[in-house]
Symmetry: C2
Subunit: 164 residues, 2 copies
């Protein structure tokens, strides 16, 4: 209890954004960030109720994935969603990276790198063999960002079928 | 015991290929099929030990995925690997379809459709909201096959980072 109080006192005087594992308390803010992302992306339609359900499922089932947020004491500025699955190519657990979002107010200040470094360290520590993401064809900025951090384009293309 | 015997008697007189859920007994044959697939694909290198480990993990953790095989009594001619994950876009569980393979001796006879119909029915019954697959950019036959079955191209492109 005393260490919580101390931390809170410290961070109010030095409330810099840092990366943390999201908890169910963050559900509302994460849903807002996600809904904003889906409003921008051509492939998806935003639906706050669906986004909320998906996020809840991940937060409630830590064996299926993890959400990391960039936050200060009061607010969440960025997030990334990692899903855990198995690869027959790699012969082990791999990560799918989705919903990598940085609020416009916090872009261009290295916070994306901070968040992605956190992901890489998590992957190494937990022995995930690979990280795969699907990025928007149109967003060259986003592709350059991931390339700069070692991600390579693959020769595969995604196809999707929605089940009614 | 008697029902097993009866089934075996029946199928020896009518040993048509059918779709079944794979079990750990199928590990060797599935590994062989997969290794052959990875030898053909530019994005991956084949490594029988890795393929075997990946398949074992899926067969041992039915909450993470399912492998369906096309088989008769003695032999496996085709397979598909389904992985279960969560989508914040759909707000529920979704399927990733990987390793859809049909042995050359069994192509062009409707077995691919049989296998894919099994997948669709499974998705509907278990309330998965979407199926996503990554297909090889070069393989137009494969793209046409999935398009014919309702799959649509997405505007996303995959990027990957292998963790050393």
């Amino acid at each position: 209890m005393s260490s919580t109080l101390q931390q809170s006192t410290l961070s109010s005087s030095n409330d810099l954004p840092r990366v943390q594992t999201a908890t169910i308390e963050d559900l509302d803010q994460i849903t807002d960030l996600l809904t904003a992302l889906f409003e921008q992306q051509g492939d998806f339609t935003s639906d706050p109720q669906r986004q909320r359900e998906g996020v809840s499922m991940i937060l409630e089932q830590p064996a299926r994935g993890r959400i990391f947020v960039l936050r200060n004491d009061d607010q969440i500025f960025g997030m990334v969603n990692l899903l855990f699955t198995i690869s027959t190519a790699m012969g082990g657990m791999v990560l799918i990276l989705e919903d990598f979002i940085m609020h416009p107010s916090h872009r261009g200040q290295g916070y994306g790198t901070l968040l992605l470094d956190h992901v890489s360290n998590f992957a190494k520590q937990k022995n995930f063999a690979r990280i795969t993401l699907l990025t928007d064809k149109i967003s060259e900025d986003s592709q350059r960002f991931f390339q700069k951090h070692g991600f390579a384009h693959s020769s595969m293309i995604p196809m999707r079928l929605n089940i009614d």
